[in-house]
Structure formats: C-alpha cells, structure tokens
Symmetry: C2
Subunit: 111 residues, 2 copies
DNA sequence: ACAACACTTAAGTAGAGGCTTAAGTATCAT
DNA sequence: ATGATACTTAAGCCTCTACTTAAGTGTTGT
C-alpha cells in the first residue's frame, strides 16, 4: 500500500523528545559518557538510559562500553536519512510552486 | 537548562507516524482534500482527521474549508525548521571529524 | 579487601497516542 | 424537500511512553 519505513518511524520518534534532542545536541559536539549526557537533564539515571536505548534503537546514536564507562557518539548516516526524507518532500513542493509561478508568468505576462 | 523547543517536539512527533508521513508525502505533490488523503490509508475517516489535527498542530500542514470540502497543503517553513535542526547537528559533527582528520594528517603525515 | 563509581535491570504508574464506532452538522444536487 | 456527500464530534479502548524507586553488576582506586 505505502512504504512503511520503520527506520524513519524510530528516528523521528527519537527526535520528538526534548531530552533526547538535548542528548543529540550534546553529542554533536563530540562523544560523551552516559553520566555526561545525564548531567544537564533533571532526571534519574535510569531515565537517561531509557532515552539512550531509544536513540540507539533508532540508529541515531551508537555507544561502546570500555571498563565501567559507556561512551556515546552520533551516527551521522541515520541523521542524514531523516534529514533527506524531509528535504525531498520540501523540494517536491517547492518545485511545484516554481512551475505554478512560471505558468502564471507565461499566461499573464504575455505581451 | 536547555531549550525546550515545543515546535520541534510537535514536528518530529508528527513525522514519526507512517500514516502521517504518507499524508505529507501525498501533499508534497500538491494540495488535497481530506477524502483524498484518507483514500490510501486503511483507516476510518475520524482516524485520518485526528492525524490531520496532529499535522496542523505541528504547523507542517495547513488547511482551509470551502463549502463542504477541506483542502490541505504543506507548510514548507515548518518542514524546513525540522530539516535544519538535523542538518545543523550533523554539520557540527562532520566539521569535528574534519578537524580530527586534519590534526591526524598534520601530526603523522609530517615528512 | 572493600568502598566508590558508572552504569544496569526490574517493576510499577500516570498519562499520551492511535485507533474504533456511533451519531452529528453543513453543503450540494435533483 | 430529500438524499447524498464531506466532513466533524464524542466516547471508549487498549497500547505505548516517560518517568520513578529499589536493588543489582562489574570496574577501579587505596
């Protein structure tokens, strides 16, 4: 019927939460540990872990545990896929507006 | 503490649902009535109305009722804001990778 | 050894989200 | 006026989400 792209569901769902966007925002400046991500987030650590799990499930963030600390980083490809989905639809719409404008110019601007 | 941008919450939340993305997808090709949006969506009309309400609340879609039909269209500015939020974070991360690479080139590629 | 540290798991709860069916309300066509 | 059309409102249901607290598990420093 229509493309039911589950990866995009997860990516946009992940970005819909302000705490998770704050985490992505922080990670955009470079890798960080779970505690570092948690620090600015008025929330218990398990709460942060759950947000991290959502971000990892969406593919937007990856993490690796070394010793007792887990280090997280951004996964730019997943970010890019979400970005492009929007960009493509917007481009389509704007091309349509351009065609409309061109049509109007042609039919009214005719000397 | 951190920017709690409610507009982005709503936009990403709206895009997180496959039915709503299908609606945006359709609208990208041009305006459509509620029935037209509903047609491909294995769902009752009230269900579609609720999705439309979410899309309008997010600012991604606007609609206008004329007579008994409501015509919907894309609001490219809201689409653009969501797109840019992602683009900015991705750009930040990629600039960071570039600096890292430049640093490594400089310190190891030294003849 | 043993305490501090950095997560991790488990379980519970209140509220939001995605549907449904049933019953409206205007418009439009004849 | 009457019926069909195109939404619209209301109510209910069940699942999923975003937290919480309490109780672990493995690592590291002294």
């Amino acid at each position: 019927m229509f493309r039911t792209d589950a990866a995009l569901d997860l990516a946009f769902q992940a970005l819909a939460d302000p705490s998770r966007r704050a985490m992505v925002d922080r990670l955009a400046t470079g890798p960080a540990t779970v505690s570092e991500l948690a620090k600015p987030l008025a929330m218990s650590l398990p709460g942060v872990m759950q947000h991290l799990a959502v971000l990892e499930a969406s593919g937007l963030v990856a993490s690796e545990k070394i010793g007792r600390t887990r280090t997280c980083r951004i996964e730019p490809k997943a970010l890019s896929r979400a970005e492009q989905w929007i960009a493509e639809r917007r481009a389509l719409w704007e091309r349509r507006l351009d065609r409309l404008e061109a049509f109007l110019d042609e039919t009214t601007g005719d000397t």
